[in-house]
Symmetry: C2
Subunit: 772 residues, 2 copies
C-alpha cells in the first residue's frame, strides 16, 4: 500500500462504520414499535431527550464559537502554530455532537421496539437492543476516524509536508505543526464530552432521585409508574446521561488516545511519520474488526446471549491484538533500515517492543475491569460486607461503602503502574500511549455492548409505564444483566485508558511547552501547581454533587405539588398505592380511572426542571476545566505541569472511588431486595436493612453517574487544553519562532521561483527543497 492509499483508508474506514450504522438504524426503525400507549410514551421520551440535546447544543454552540474564535486569534500570527487549530476544534466538537445525536436518536427508537419485541421473547429483544448500541458504537468510531483521518490528510497537503523527508528539519518542523493543529480535534471532542457527561449526569440523577423519593417512598407507587410526572424525565435522563453522555465520553477517550500516540510518535528521531500514522491505521483496522464482531454477535443469537456478547467483544479484542502484531511489523519495516527510533533508546525499536505495550495495556484494562467487578458485584466479599453492615442502619452501610470505594483504588492503581512500567521499558512514552490504544482499538463493539444496557433499561421503563405484563419487565431486566461483565470491563478500560492517555498527553505537553527543559518536581512553582491541581477534582465533584442535590430538591417539590394540586391524580395515587399494599392487580374500572388520571400529569414541567438545572449547572465545571490550565499556564508553564500531574493523581483516585462505591451500594441494595423478606431477621424488601441500603444507593447515584465518570474527562480535557496552548506559553517561544522563521526563509531563498505566492509567508511550497 502506498502512503496516500493508507491516508485515504483511514477516513474510508470511518465512512464504512457510518454506513453500517445508517443501515442498522434503518433496520431498527422498521421494527414493530408496539401499541399506541407504548408509542406515545416513547414519543414523550424521545421528544424530551431531543429537546434537551437541542437546548444543550445551542448553549454549546456559543461556547464552541467563542473558543474557536479565541484559538483563531491566538494562533493567527504564530510561526510555530496555525489558526487551522480552530477548524480542528470545531470539527472535533461537531463530530462528537453528531455522534451523540445519532446514538441517542436510535436509542430512543430502539428502546420501545426492544420492549415490543420482549413481549414475544428474549432473543428478538436482545437483537434490537444490541443493534441500537451498535449504531452508537459505530457512529462514534466512524465520525472520529472520518474527522481525524480527513483532517490529517488535509493538513499534510496544506502544510506541504514531504513525509518521506522527515529527517530534514523543515519537514519535521512542519509535520509537528500538523500534529499540533490536529490536537484541536481532541480538545473539541473533550469539551463536548465534559458538558455532555456533567449535564447529562445532573439531568438523569436529579430526575431519578426526585422520582424515587416522592413516588416510591412517599406515595408508595411502583418505580417508573406513569402517574409519577418525573418518570418521563427519569427515562429521558437515562438517554441523555447514559447514552449520549457515554457516547461523547468514549468519543473523547478514543480520539484522545489516538492523538496522544500520534504526538509522541511524531517526536521519534527516525520513523516519526510511521509512528504517528500507526495509531490511525490500528484504529481503522479496529473498526473493521468491530463491524465483523458485531455481525458475529448477530449470527450466534440462537445460543446463550451472554456468550454471544462476550464472544463478540472479547473475540474482537483478541483478533485485533493478533492483527496489531502484523500491522506494527509492517510499519517497522516501512520505516526503513533506521526503523522507528526514539531519543531515549539506542537503535530502532523492534516489532515486539511496540507490540508488548499494547498487550500489557489490554491485560491491565481487563484485569482492572475484573477487579472493579469484584468490588461491585453481588454476593462477593465487598458487597456482602455492605449488606452485613446495613443490618445496623444507614450509617454503618455508608461507612462500609465509602471504605469499599477507598479500598478499591489500590489494585487498579498498582495495575496501571505496572502497565506504565512495562510499556515504558519497551517503548518509552510512546509505549504508554500504545498501551492506551491497545484497550481502545475495538471501541466500536465495546461501546455497542455498553450502550445496550441503558436501552434495555429504558425498554423496561416503557414496559412498566405502558402497563405491559410483568413478564415483559422481567425479560428486559434479564437483558440488562446480560452485558454486565462486558460493561464492567468497559469501565476498567475507561479508567486505565484515561490515566494512560492523560500521561502521554502530559508528556506531549512538556515537550511542546518546554522543549528540552524539564519540569522539576521539587520546584515550588511545580508544587503549587500540584496542590492546586490535586484540589480541582474535589471542587469539580462538589459542584456536580451540589447541582444534583439542588435539582433533586426542586424536582421533589414539583412532584409533591402536582400530587397535591391535581385532584384526579391524588385519587388515582391512592388507588394504586392501596392495590400495591394489598398486593393485588387493579380492577378494570380502576385501571381506566388511573389511566385517565395519568393524562393529567404535567410531565413537561419535570422535564423542564431537569433540563434547566443541568444546562445552568454544567457551565461552571466546564469553565473550571478549561480556565484552570489557561490561568496557571500563563503564569508558569512549570506550574501547569504540576497542575496536570496533581489533577491526574487525585482525579483518578476519586473517579475509581466514586464509581466503585456507587456500584457497590447499588448492588448491595439489589442483594438485599433479593433476600427472603423477614422483619425478624431484618432482611429483604421493607426491612430496616433495606431502608439503609436504599439510602446508600441514593448517595451512590451522583457518585457513579455524575461526578465519577466526569472526572476521567476532566483530567484529559485539562491536559489537552495544555497541549493546545503549549506553544504559546513556551518560555523560549521567541527563539523557537525565530528558528522557524529562518527555516522557512531559507527555503524561500533556495526556491526563489514561487516567492511571490500569496500563501508563501506562512506556508512556502518546499517540495523541491526536500529533494535537494
Amino acid at each position: 500500500m502506498t502512503i496516500q492509499q493508507m491516508l485515504l483508508a483511514i477516513p474510508a474506514a470511518g465512512v464504512l462504520a457510518l454506513i453500517y450504522a445508517a443501515a442498522t438504524s434503518y433496520w431498527i426503525k422498521g421494527r414493530d414499535a408496539g401499541n399506541e400507549r407504548m408509542k406515545n410514551i416513547a414519543l414523550q421520551i424521545q421528544r424530551g431527550a431531543m429537546a434537551f440535546l437541542r437546548a444543550e447544543y445551542s448553549v454549546l454552540l456559543g461556547f464552541v464559537a467563542l473558543v474557536a474564535f479565541g484559538l483563531y486569534m491566538l494562533n493567527r500570527a504564530e510561526p510555530t502554530s496555525d489558526p487551522l487549530v480552530a477548524l480542528s476544534f470545531v470539527a472535533g466538537a461537531i463530530a462528537s455532537g453528531v455522534a451523540g445525536f445519532f446514538g441517542m436518536r436510535v436509542a430512543t427508537q430502539a428502546n420501545v421496539r426492544t420492549a415490543a419485541a420482549a413481549r414475544t421473547g428474549l432473543p428478538p429483544a436482545l437483537q434490537i437492543a444490541f443493534r441500537g448500541g451498535a449504531v452508537m458504537g459505530m457512529s462514534v468510531v466512524g465520525l472520529a476516524l472520518l474527522g481525524l483521518g480527513s483532517l490529517f490528510w488535509f493538513y499534510l497537503g496544506q502544510f506541504q509536508v514531504d513525509v518521506a523527508g522527515l529527517d530534514q528539519p523543515i519537514n519535521s518542523f512542519r509535520f509537528s505543526k500538523v500534529i499540533n493543529v490536529l490536537a484541536g480535534f481532541s480538545m473539541g471532542a473533550s469539551s463536548i464530552a465534559l458538558f455532555a457527561r456533567v449535564g447529562g449526569g445532573i439531568y438523569t440523577k436529579a430526575a431519578d432521585v426526585g422520582a424515587d423519593l416522592v413516588g416510591k417512598v412517599e406515595a408508595g407507587i411502583p418505580e417508573d409508574h406513569f402517574l409519577n410526572p418525573a418518570t418521563i424525565a427519569d427515562n429521558v435522563g437515562d438517554n441523555v446521561g447514559d447514552v449520549a453522555g457515554m457516547g461523547a465520553d468514549l468519543f473523547e477517550s478514543y480520539v484522545g488516545s489516538i492523538i496522544g500516540a500520534m504526538i509522541l510518535g511524531a517526536i521519534a528521531v527516525h520513523g516519526g511519520f510511521e509512528a504517528a500514522l500507526l495509531p490511525l491505521i490500528l484504529a481503522a483496522v479496529g473498526i473493521v474488526v468491530s463491524i465483523i464482531g458485531t455481525v458475529v454477535v448477530r449470527t450466534k443469537e440462537g445460543g446463550n446471549p451472554q456468550h454471544a456478547l462476550d464472544a463478540g467483544a472479547f473475540g474482537s479484542a483478541a483478533v485485533m491484538l493478533g492483527l496489531s502484531y502484523f500491522i506494527i511489523d509492517y510499519f517497522v519495516k516501512m520505516a526503513g533500515p533506521g526503523g522507528i527510533q526514539f531519543a531515549e533508546f539506542d537503535g530502532p525499536l523492534q516489532t515486539l517492543h511496540l507490540f508488548y505495550p499494547m498487550v500489557i495495556g489490554l491485560v491491565a484494562g481487563v484485569a482492572i475491569g475484573l477487579v472493579t467487578s469484584h468490588y461491585c458485584s453481588k454476593n462477593k466479599g465487598p458487597v456482602n460486607g455492605i449488606v452485613e453492615q446495613s443490618k445496623t442502619g444507614a450509617a454503618t452501610n455508608l461507612i462500609a461503602g465509602i471504605g469499599v470505594g477507598f479500598q478499591s483504588t489500590a489494585i487498579p492503581i498498582i495495575l496501571i503502574a505496572g502497565a506504565i512500567y512495562v510499556a515504558n521499558l519497551y517503548a518509552g512514552l510512546y509505549g504508554i500511549a500504545l498501551a492506551a490504544l491497545g484497550m481502545l482499538s475495538t471501541t466500536g463493539i465495546q461501546l455497542a455492548v455498553d450502550a445496550y444496557g441503558p436501552i434495555s433499561d429504558n425498554a423496561g421503563g416503557i414496559a412498566e409505564m405502558s402497563g405491559l405484563p410483568s413478564k415483559v419487565r422481567e425479560r428486559t431486566d434479564n437483558l440488562d444483566a446480560v452485558g454486565n461483565t462486558t460493561a464492567a470491563i468497559g469501565k476498567g478500560f475507561a479508567i486505565a485508558s484515561a490515566a494512560l492517555a492523560a500521561l502521554s498527553l502530559f508528556a506531549a505537553y512538556r515537550k511542546l511547552a518546554l522543549g528540552e527543559t524539564d519540569i522539576i518536581l521539587t520546584d515550588p512553582e511545580v508544587l503549587i501547581g500540584l496542590l492546586v491541581g490535586g484540589m480541582l477534582p474535589f471542587l469539580f465533584s462538589a459542584m456536580a454533587m451540589k447541582a444534583v442535590g439542588d435539582a433533586a430538591m426542586d424536582m421533589i417539590q414539583e412532584v409533591r405539588r402536582q400530587f397535591k394540586d391535581i385532584p384526579v391524580l391524588r385519587e388515582a395515587l391512592t388507588l394504586v398505592a392501596r392495590a400495591e399494599e394489598e398486593e393485588r392487580e387493579l380492577t378494570e374500572e380502576e385501571d381506566a380511572q388511573v389511566l385517565e388520571a395519568g393524562k393529567k400529569t404535567e410531565v413537561e414541567k419535570c422535564v423542564a426542571i431537569s433540563t434547566q438545572a443541568s444546562l445552568k449547572r454544567m457551565v461552571m465545571p466546564g469553565v473550571l476545566a478549561i480556565g484552570a490550565p489557561l490561568v496557571i499556564g500563563w503564569w508558569s508553564p512549570f506550574a501547569l505541569g504540576g497542575l496536570l500531574a496533581g489533577t491526574l493523581t487525585s482525579g483518578v483516585m476519586l473517579a475509581i472511588f466514586m464509581s466503585n462505591a456507587g456500584g457497590a451500594w447499588d448492588n448491595a441494595k439489589k442483594q438485599v431486595e433479593e433476600q427472603k423478606k423477614s422483619l425478624e431477621k431484618n432482611t429483604g424488601k421493607g426491612s430496616e436493612r433495606h431502608k439503609a441500603a436504599v439510602i446508600g444507593d441514593t448517595v451512590g447515584d451522583p457518585f457513579k453517574d455524575t461526578a465519577g465518570p466526569s472526572l476521567n474527562i476532566l483530567i484529559k480535557l485539562m491536559t489537552i487544553v495544555a497541549v493546545v496552548i503549549a506553544p504559546h506559553i513556551n518560555p523560549d517561544k521567541e527563539q523557537v519562532a525565530e528558528a522557524a522563521r529562518q527555516l522557512e526563509a531559507q527555503l524561500q531563498q533556495a526556491d526563489g521561483a514561487k516567492a511571490g505566492d500569496a500563501k508563501a509567508a506562512d506556508q512556502p511550497k518546499a517540495e523541491q527543497a526536500n529533494e535537494s
Copy 2:
C-alpha cells in the same frame, strides 16, 4: 550570648516547660475530685485509659526496638551516616510516648475535678480544664525541645563539628551528618504519633458509635448513661484519642517542622549553622512566650472566659511574631558579613526575607482556620445547606455533606499555595520551612486550648454518669464551646503546617538522596510513584474506616448481649427509658434500683473490645506508612520522590475533606437539635430531619476523628522515613562515601598525632585542622 550558651538554652527552655507542667499537674491533683460516685467513675476511666496506653506502648516497644535495630544495622558502616540515628529514633519515640502519658494522666485527673468544680460555677471549672490542657501542651513542647536540644548539643560534640568553620568541607560534611542523625528523632515522634492517632481514633469511634446506636437509638436511654456498659469505653476513648492522640500528633508536627527547617537551613552556602540553629531558638523563645500566655489566661479569669482564651492564644502568637523579628535579626548579624545565604539567591538574605515567610505562614494558618470554621459552624451557609437538605432524608443530608467537604478543600489549598509562593519568593525552600514554624512556635499554648476541649467533654460525661444536676452538664457544655474558635484555628494550623513541613522535608529528601540530580516530573518512574503515592491515603483511610466499622459492630453486639442477658439491667433500662419518654425524673426508689443495676454492667468487656480492636487494627496502617517508602525507595529514589508528592497531594485533600465534612455533619446535627421541635415542620429532636442528621453525624465520626487527622501524620511520617533512608538509596552513594572517606583521611594525615585512636576511623578529631 555565646553559641554554647544558646545550645544549652534550648534544652533549658524544655526543662522550664516541664517544671511548669509538673507544678500545674501537682496543683490539679490537689483540687476536689467530687463525691464517691464521681471518683469511682473517674477511676474506671483512668484505669481504662492507662491500661490502653500500657497495652499500646508494649506493642510499640517491639516496633521501636525492631526499627531501631534496623536503623543501627543500616547505618553502622556508612561514612555518610551514623548508627546514632537509632538513638535519635528511640529518643523521639520515648519523648512522644512520655508526653502522651503525662498529658493523659493529668487529663484523666482534671476531668473529674472540672466536673466537681462545675457544681459551683463556670470560672473554677474553666481554670482546672484549661490547666489540664496546659500540662499536655507544656509536656509536648518541653520534651520535644529537651530531646532535640540535648541531642543536637551532644552530636555536635560527638562529631567534633567546629561550628565557626562550616565553610570548610569537612566541617560542613560533619554538620550535615549531625542534622541527618537528628532527623531520626522526628521519625521516632512521627511513628508513635501515627499509631497513637490511628489506635486512639479506632478506640474512641468504635466505642462512641457502639454506645450511641444501642443506648440512645435502640434502648432509648440518654447519652453517657451509666447503665450503658460502653459509656466508660467511650469516655476512655475521648482520652486516648482526643488527648493522647492529639498530643502525639502535635509533638510530631512541632518536631517535624523544626527538623525540616534545620535540614534546609544547614544546606545554606553561608551561615548554615545559624540557619539551622534559628528554628530551635525560635521554638525555645516560643516556650517562654507560651508559659507567659498561659499565666495571662489565669489572671484574666474573672472576665469573659472566651476572651481570656483567645487573648492567651492570639496574644502569644502576636508577641512571638514580634520577637521573631529581633531573633532573626540577631542571627542574620551573627552569621557575619556573608550572612545567611542560599545557592538559589544572589547575596545574603535580609532579616525581612526570613521574617515575611513566618508572617505569611501564620496568616495562612489563621485564614485556613477561619475558612474551616466557616464550613463547619452552625448557622452559616454550608451547615445551613446540610440542615435544609436533611429535610428530605439521610441520602440528601449525606450528598450535601460530602459536597461541603469536597468544596472546603478549595480555599485552604489556594491559601497554602499562596504561602508557598510568598515564602519561596523571599527565602526559597528554607522560607517554606519557616512558614510552617511561624504557625507552630507557640504550640505550647495552642495545645493547651485544644486539649481543654476533650477535658471539658469528659467532665460532662462524668457529670451525666454520676447523676449530677443537669445544670452541671450545661456548664461543662458551655466550657466545651468556649474554645471553639481557637480550636478551629488550631485545625487550620495542623493542616497548613503539615503541608508546609512535608514540602520542606520533601525538598530535604531530594537533596540527601540525589545531591544535585533533579526529580523530573515526566519521568515514568516518578509518575508511577505519583500514582501509587496518591492511592495510599485512600487505602490507609479504608483500613481505618473498616476498623471502626468492624469494632463498632462488635461493640454493638456486646452491649446488646448485656442488655439481654443481665436481668436487673434489662429492668432498669425499661425504667429509665419510660421516664425519658414521659419526660420526668426517676423516683427515689427507682433511682436506687437503677443505681444497683448499674453495678452489674460488665464495663471491662467493652473496654477490652475497643482496646483489642484498636491495637490489632493500628498495625497494618503503620506498616503501610513505613513500608511503602522503603520498598519504593529501594527500587528507585526517583519513584520515591513521586510517591511522596502523590501522597502529599491526595492526602492533604482527603484530610481537609474528611475533617470538614465530619465537622459540618456534627454541627448540622446540633443545629437541628436546637430547632424548635415540630413534627409538622419536620424540625428539632425526634423529627425525620433529626434522624437524617444523626446518620450524617455518625458517618462523619470516623472521618473527622480517625482517618482525617491520621492522614496529616501519614504524609509526614512517609516523608521523614524517606529522609532517614535517603543517604542509603542515593544512586551516587559510593562516590559520596568515597569523597567522605578521603576528607576524613586527609584530616587524619594532617593531624597525625591522634591517628591511633579507636574512634578515629569513623570520627577523627579535627579541631586543629579547622584552624589551619
